[in-house]
């Protein structure tokens, strides 16, 4: 479970990139973060994972504060960033060993998971190569394998479909579902509204740092009394919010 309480973050001290966000993401659900470019999705995910510190508010993962109980909180989640920034001079197998070591994954379990996941994502044949020789998509797959190595309770992904081939994208979506069905938490951001509509149990729509909607797609349809696609509902919501000077949010 992820809990955000009145979280705000500003880079320049003037405008909030994340503005007073309060949100609870429950165990066993896939939660999608949607929003236009520059809305604050990546900043929110970086705050949740401790890469940035909030100016105000608090964030807890499975009850552990990301700032005060950082180590315990970090043990409980895995993060897949939008840009696969890794130590590219390491070989893929060295990177996975490093991740296994720092998360304390047992030797046999580690071997079995690397076998299984690297085959699932189609990188089993390149484990002995330096990461710098990988394409963007291959690096993304490696990070996904690394992220799942310690079987985290919470899985946080920033634009995870970017650069993935259709087969890997499908595998990822299936795995996200399996994870949520096993009672774990999956939080991801995306621009692809089709994916969000099909995969997410609930959505959070963020615009200019503010959370303007939290709920299911059906709740959004009910609000507008409109049965159209998530894409048109999303555009309408963002447009309404901007026209109403950010007053038209309906966060649960």
């Amino acid at each position: 479970m992820i809990e955000l309480k009145n979280v705000s973050k500003s880079y320049d001290g003037k405008k909030n990139a994340v503005d007073n966000v309060t949100l609870t993401i429950r165990d066993g659900e896939i939660f999608g973060f949607l929003g236009p470019n520059g809305a604050g999705k990546t900043t929110a995910l970086k705050l949740i994972t401790g890469l940035l510190l909030p100016d105000t508010g608090s964030i807890a993962i499975d009850g552990f504060d990301i700032e005060k109980d950082a180590i315990e909180a970090k043990r409980r989640f895995a993060f897949v960033p939008d840009n696969p920034e890794v130590f590219t001079r390491l070989k893929a197998i060295e990177y996975l060993r490093f991740i296994g070591d720092v998360y304390g994954v047992d030797g046999d379990v580690r071997k079995a998971r690397v076998d299984e996941l690297s085959k699932k994502f189609g990188i089993a044949d390149v484990l002995n190569q330096q990461i710098k020789t990988f394409s963007h998509g291959m690096q993304q797959k490696l990070i996904l394998v690394g992220a799942l190595l310690h079987d985290p309770d919470t899985w946080i992904l920033d634009e995870p479909m970017t650069g993935l081939d259709p087969a890997s994208s499908f595998t990822l979506k299936t795995m996200m579902r399996e994870y949520a069905d096993a009672g774990k938490t999956v939080l991801f951001s995306t621009h692809i509204l089709d994916v969000a509509e099909k995969v997410c149990d609930r959505l959070g729509i963020i615009d200019e740092g503010k959370l303007i909607f939290v709920g299911t797609v059906n709740e959004l349809r009910a609000h507008y009394q409109d049965d159209s696609s998530l894409e048109s509902l999303f555009l309408r919501l963002v447009s309404d919010t901007e026209n109403a000077s950010h007053g038209a949010s309906f966060v649960e």
Partner: protein, 575 residues
């Protein structure tokens, strides 16, 4: 021509940016702020003044020396030979990365421009820095030579085409060599391997030059010209210059600057240059683009068997995992390897060798008719060193402080992690463990260095064990302090947004600030020693104790500061 000029504009900017990048670091907070034009101009002005100064000094000194033996024309032949050598070395080092390894090449190749235009633009982009650097090294000394040897006005006019003639044709031939090599062989296609080899070659060249200079009797070099005034060397240089026709005709042009024959020599040198450039363009047009396309493509590696994979996944502690990762990055990244491990291991050894050669070559320096090594050995043997431990502490402390400058700081710098620092931030490993793992390579390297230096000193000077241990202890304590200081500054002001690995280890803020800190630290320790000495009526033992206690106190203080502030600094680094 129009497309050529359009292409040259971004290539020129790229070249300037490449030159100044890394020297002026940029932080994430200021990533949108354009780099200060003043600092760039200042940087270039400093480089020009520094090179020109050395060039002029060599020009004056060597000319005066050669005038004594009536061989001043030899100076022009020396320059006519040196310029092509510089062009060859700088040309190869510059050309392969610029012509084949730059990421911007792909964006050029897809443009609707004739391949010959791209080739010409890239060759120009390569030539300009090679020509400018060679000119910077040679031209000031050529002018200084003209003034000292009272050359006619025609000499100064002809010196400008002279620099072009002795640079452009060798450049063209060097480029032909590079183009053929890159098109038909594989040795330079691996960017990392190439960078590693060229960096090591460059460092070895510099070191060899410094050793060579050390072996010259410095006092009378500028009076006698050293080996250059030797008739055998002169004859050899005169013979060598004939093998390079452009250099031979250019030298003749300049030597005979006050005669009509200078025009004929100039014409022939110019013609040879035009032919060389023409030949280069014809060959480049045929093989350059094909060579570029041949460098792309993934590397293959042996696939792992299940048993190998299991072995390579054996669990370790978090500390060992981070430490192992640091060693791999230091060893596999050419910029990190040459700036840290290679430099750290090579430099003290070469310095020790240089000192040893200098000592052994020098004539008797004391009234007792001994050279410096013999004198120091005698001084140690008699036990007089026991009254001068404070001086030994200051000297060793100062040397250790300088040795552990940029190289050791870079070995521990978090800046080396770049954007991948996000992994360090989100792994569930206590900051104390991570800091210890980051510092370990530097500490180990430093220990190795001082073991080598202490053994070398013990062998050369017959140090007693107690003195060897004092030297080792003082050196280790000071190196450790400087490493911690650099680490703290790097944690406070890391450069994590670099696009080129060299930026992470060269001229970083931590390197700059700690270099200034080195001076302050040495100054304070020397000042403290003399203050205590005057207060204690020159009690050498107390002065030694105070100096060593000062070193230890600084090390303890910095350790305490790292322990106390690392967590906060770590948490406030934003990505």
């Amino acid at each position: 021509m129009k497309h050529y000029l359009i292409l040259m504009r971004p290539l020129w900017s790229e070249m300037l940016a490449n030159t100044s990048r890394g020297m002026i670091s940029s932080r994430k907070k200021n990533k949108d702020k354009p780099r200060s034009r003043v600092s760039t101009v200042f940087l270039f002005a400093f480089i020009i003044v520094m090179f020109s100064f050395y060039s002029v000094m060599i020009g004056i000194g060597l000319t005066k020396a050669l005038m004594v033996v009536g061989a001043e024309d030899l100076f022009i032949r020396i320059i006519a030979l040196a310029a092509p050598v510089f062009t060859l070395i700088i040309g190869i080092l510059q050309a392969i990365p610029m012509l084949y390894h730059e990421s911007s090449l792909e964006s050029l190749l897809v443009l609707p421009v004739k391949p010959s235009t791209i080739t010409a633009a890239k060759l120009t982009q390569t030539l300009v820095p090679v020509f400018l650097l060679t000119t910077l090294l040679c031209y000031p000394s050529l002018i200084a030579h003209g003034i000292v040897s009272h050359r006619p006005w025609g000499y100064y006019v002809q010196s400008i085409p002279f620099m072009l003639y002795v640079t452009v044709a060798p450049f063209a031939l060097t480029m032909i060599l590079v183009l053929v090599m890159m098109r038909y062989t594989k040795w330079a296609r691996n960017k990392d391997r190439f960078q590693l080899i060229t960096s090591i070659v460059m460092i070895l060249l510099i070191v060899s030059f410094s050793l060579f200079a050390n072996m010259q009797p410095s006092d009378d070099f500028f009076e006698t010209g050293g080996i250059f005034s030797d008739p055998a060397t002169g004859a050899l240089l005169n013979r060598l210059v004939k093998f390079l026709p452009t250099s031979a005709f250019s030298a003749a042009m300049l030597i005979n600057a006050d005669r009509w024959s200078t025009l004929l020599h100039s014409l022939i040198a110019c013609g040879l240059n035009v032919v060389s450039v023409g030949l280069l363009l014809v060959i480049a047009d045929k093989i350059y683009i094909r060579g570029v396309l041949g460098t792309k493509g993934g590397q293959s590696a042996k696939q792992l068997t299940s048993k190998e994979a299991a072995r390579k996944l054996t669990p370790r502690s978090a500390y060992r995992a981070i430490l192992n990762k640091e060693w791999i990055l230091l060893l596999r990244t050419p910029a990190f390897f040459t700036q840290t491990i290679f430099f750290v291991l090579l430099f003290p050894v070469i310095m020790t060798a240089g000192f040893a050669i200098g000592f052994l070559e020098s004539p008797g320096t004391s009234e007792m008719g001994m050279n410096t090594i013999e004198y120091l050995r005698f001084w140690i043997m008699t036990g007089d060193w026991k009254h001068s431990i404070w001086i030994i502490a200051l000297i060793v402390g100062g040397i250790a402080t300088f040795f552990s400058g940029t190289a050791l700081i870079s070995a521990s710098a978090i800046s080396r992690q770049g954007a991948a620092f996000n992994i360090s931030k989100r792994i569930p490993v206590p900051i104390r463990t991570q800091v210890l793992a980051w510092l370990t390579p530097g500490i180990l390297l430093m220990t190795v260095i001082w073991i080598i230096i202490t053994i070398a000193l013990a062998l050369f000077l017959d140090l007693p064990l107690s003195l060897a241990l004092i030297v080792f202890f003082i050196a280790i304590v000071n190196s450790y302090s400087m490493q911690l200081l650099g680490f703290l500054i790097d944690m406070k002001e890391p450069s994590l947004t670099w696009s080129n690995e060299i930026e992470a280890v060269k001229n970083t803020r931590s390197g700059l600030v700690s270099s200034l800190g080195d001076f302050a630290y040495i100054g304070i320790s020397v000042g403290l020693a003399f203050l205590v000495r005057s207060l204690t009526s020159k009690n050498d033992l107390i002065v030694a104790i105070v100096v060593i206690a000062f070193y230890v106190a600084v090390a303890i203080l910095l350790t305490f500061l790292v322990k106390r502030t690392a967590r906060n600094l770590f948490q406030t680094i934003e990505l």
